[in-house]
């Protein structure tokens, strides 16, 4: 085979792949606004993205799975811990991660920056990315969470606990480790006290670092209180 033919194979192979790639790039641009809710991409979200970049968040964390694997993925962090939770972590990492095996530096983030950052992360959490990552997928609640929250017949309290609390707290070894494990919390507090803690942790323990869970509805809060009071 003459080298001229080899050269034409090179050219043809490259061009075919390039055309497919560029056509799909064009298609991506057509669809990206709908997939990412571009109408909700406000100036505050953009400011938050600047904070994200200025503070080098992506050098320890991943987002959309990209970045560095030293700290948790933040694609759906807003669904895990909400605006208040994000602010709490970012403003006082030395308190939140006091007992963690891995620390987060205090990056001198201001209150305003933290709010903008949370707005950015809220927008990111609503990107339609085929339900990734698996650990935050509501459709794909893990076997451990199902076990922890009572198997097939999931009570309202268990479901609400799984949805709102397990980012920080664990039961039966499943869940987060930012807050204490709650396996025996029922021996310490009754349902009403737990409800009060969820609404405003400082009302029960003034030194509490947990942020008020304002995104939990009254019904869910009551259900979680009853569910946790049974954990003895």
């Amino acid at each position: 085979m003459a080298n001229k033919n080899a050269f034409y194979i090179f050219l043809a192979g490259t061009l075919v792949s390039l055309v497919i790639f560029l056509a799909l790039t064009w298609d991506t641009h057509q669809q990206v606004d709908a997939l990412t809710n571009a109408d909700k991409l406000t100036e505050q979200v953009v400011t938050g993205k600047h904070v994200w970049e200025d503070k080098n968040c992506n050098e320890c964390h991943t987002i959309l799975g990209f970045g560095v694997y030293y700290a948790p993925d933040l694609t759906k962090v807003h669904k895990r811990i909400g605006t208040e939770g994000i602010k709490q972590v970012v403003l006082q990492p030395e308190v939140v991660f006091k007992d963690s095996i891995r620390k987060m530096p205090n990056l001198g983030v201001t209150e305003q920056e933290a709010t903008d950052l949370a707005a950015f992360l809220e927008w990111v959490s609503n990107i339609d990315n085929h339900d990734w990552p698996p650990q935050d997928s509501a459709d794909r609640m893990s076997a451990a969470e199902r076990r922890a929250t009572g198997g097939a017949g999931l009570s309202r309290g268990a479901a609400a606990f799984q949805q709102n609390c397990m980012g920080c707290h664990s039961i039966g070894g499943s869940g987060g480790s930012i807050g204490p494990a709650l396996d025996t919390v029922g021996t310490k507090y009754d349902a009403a006290t737990i409800e009060a803690i969820i609404a405003d942790p400082k009302s029960v323990t003034p030194g509490a670092t947990m942020p008020p869970q304002s995104n939990v509805s009254d019904e869910d809060r009551q259900a979680i209180g009853e569910f946790l009071a049974k954990q003895q």
Binding site: T14, F21, V46, P105, G173, S174
Partner: protein, 471 residues
């Protein structure tokens, strides 16, 4: 095929280029000497990269107290680790280019002065960038951290380089290797531009981030390294140029055919259309084919050629490049490229394992192949301590295989504990710490292997070499 065999047969009988060259000048063109400083600085930066990397492994394996983390955040050192990687490898490619272009084009480099100016510009930019990271001066995007003002210096440096190489090629002889090399370098420089702007939409941001990162390592860099490898193979095996060039075209055709559309394997979970799952999955699954072709081709080169290759060290590194490429990029890449698998492994330590094995196998060993070909010539001493050089190869290769495998085990633990069991990130990291302690051990071994190699390649005195010479 018959005509090829004839070419090879003639080659075997009437020429043994390697020995014939012994009486010629080791470095035929004076301007090739600029490569020396590119290589030496590249090696120094590689040492620095490994030292920083060791600190990163320690940060994974142990709990670093808050007081240390506040002063020396992990992210800062990680930015240094990756930027040192990119800088030393690019300097290696550029040095390699300056070394091979005069011999291929059969004329001196267009401007030696520009080559040095460009080297100084890039190294100074690199140093400013690294110091800047310590003070938080970064663009905040992994691997593309260099702040925009410095980006422009990089672009100017790249343009000087391209101009210098292009002028040399235009005024000299044009070969397929030079065409491939120049094409790869232009492609490389163009892609860098997509990483420079600020993107409002995070999805679009990552979409074009991969135009730089993926299309570099699975596109432009493949062209550059294929050209460098082809050059070295022609020189040390004496196989006919036409045969090597034919495989160069076919392999790079396969690399680009699979690699361009294969970019889609990074677009599965970023908020891009679902069609990328199909296109990315199918094309990137084929990305292993050109690598297999390359391995077969490299081994067959020796068999077809049928004579003993004198430069054992260079040849070992060349084979190592092919095999390392296959393990790191081919096997580890393929293992988690299908969407069904990638859904669970994406953004975990599995990716880190793949990254380390692939960069070392495909690009670090390729650079060392060129270093080991050029440095003894540039130093005017072909009496290389072969045993020490081969020890260097095996220590480094096994160390990277070890640390990459340890990261892979950590990654599998992470996938299972965090993503399948749903036990939370830190719980998984706790189980992974043991494996990062193993990474530290292999990291130290890698540094030892590199220092042995550098001592042998750059510092060993001629007298010492001669007394222990095997060649």
């Amino acid at each position: 095929m018959a005509e090829e065999a004839a070419v090879i047969r003639t080659n075997m009988t009437d020429a043994a280029p390697v020995t014939a060259r012994a009486e010629e000048k080791l470095v035929p063109y004076a301007s090739q000497r600029v490569a020396y400083w590119y290589f030496v600085i590249a090696l120094a930066l590689f040492v620095l990269q490994l030292v920083v990397g060791l600190w990163l492994a320690i940060s994974y394996a142990f709990t670093i107290p808050q007081s240390v983390v506040d002063v020396l955040p992990f992210g800062m050192t990680r930015a240094m680790h990756t930027n040192l990687l990119v800088l030393w490898m690019l300097l290696g490619f550029m040095g390699g280019t300056y070394y091979l272009v005069p011999e291929e084009a059969e004329r001196e480099i267009y401007s030696v002065k520009l080559a040095y100016i460009q080297l100084v510009a890039l190294v100074v930019t690199g140093v400013i960038a690294l110091v800047g990271f310590a003070f938080g001066w970064t663009q905040g995007r992994p691997i593309l951290e260099i702040p925009t003002p410095l980006d422009f210096v990089v672009v100017i440096g790249a343009l000087i380089f391209l101009f210098n190489v292009a002028m040399t090629v235009i005024k000299g002889k044009r070969t397929a290797i030079l065409g491939m090399l120049l094409g790869g370098l232009v492609f490389l420089a163009l892609l860098y531009i997509f990483g420079m702007p600020f993107y409002r939409n995070l999805t679009i941001d990552w979409f074009y981030w991969w135009w730089v990162v993926h299309l570099w390592v699975e596109g432009a860099w493949e062209l550059v390294t294929a050209a460098i490898l082809a050059f070295v193979l022609i020189k040390i095996t004496g196989v006919d140029r036409k045969v090597v060039e034919k495989y160069l075209y076919i392999e790079t055709a396969l690399f680009l055919f699979t690699g361009l559309a294969g970019t889609g394997h990074h677009y599965y979970w970023i908020g891009a259309p679902r069609v990328w799952l199909w296109v990315g999955g199918i094309f990137s699954a084929m990305e292993v084919l050109p690598i297999i072709a390359m391995v077969i081709d490299t081994f067959m080169t020796q068999r077809r050629h049928g004579i003993v290759i004198k430069e054992k060290v260079v040849w070992t590194f060349a084979l190592g490049t092919a095999v390392g490429h296959l393990i790191g990029a081919g096997v580890f890449g393929f293992a988690h490229t299908l969407p069904q698998v990638n859904y669970f492994t994406h953004g975990s330590q599995v990716t880190a394992a793949h990254g380390h094995l692939a960069f070392f196998g495909a690009y670090a060993l390729l650079n060392f192949t060129m270093f080991w070909y050029a440095m003894p010539r540039l130093r005017g001493n072909m009496n290389v301590n072969k045993n020490m050089a081969l020890s260097g190869f095996w220590i480094m290769s096994l160390a990277v295989l070890g640390l990459g495998s340890a990261m892979a085990v950590a990654g599998i633990i992470q996938v299972y504990v965090e993503r399948v069991l749903g036990d939370g990130f830190m719980v998984a990291q706790g189980h992974m710490q043991l494996w990062f302690k193993i990474v530290i051990v292999f990291g130290v071994l890698l540094i030892v292997g590199l220092l042995v190699t550098i001592w042998n390649m750059v510092f060993a005195k001629r007298a010492v070499l001669e007394s222990e010479a095997i060649v």
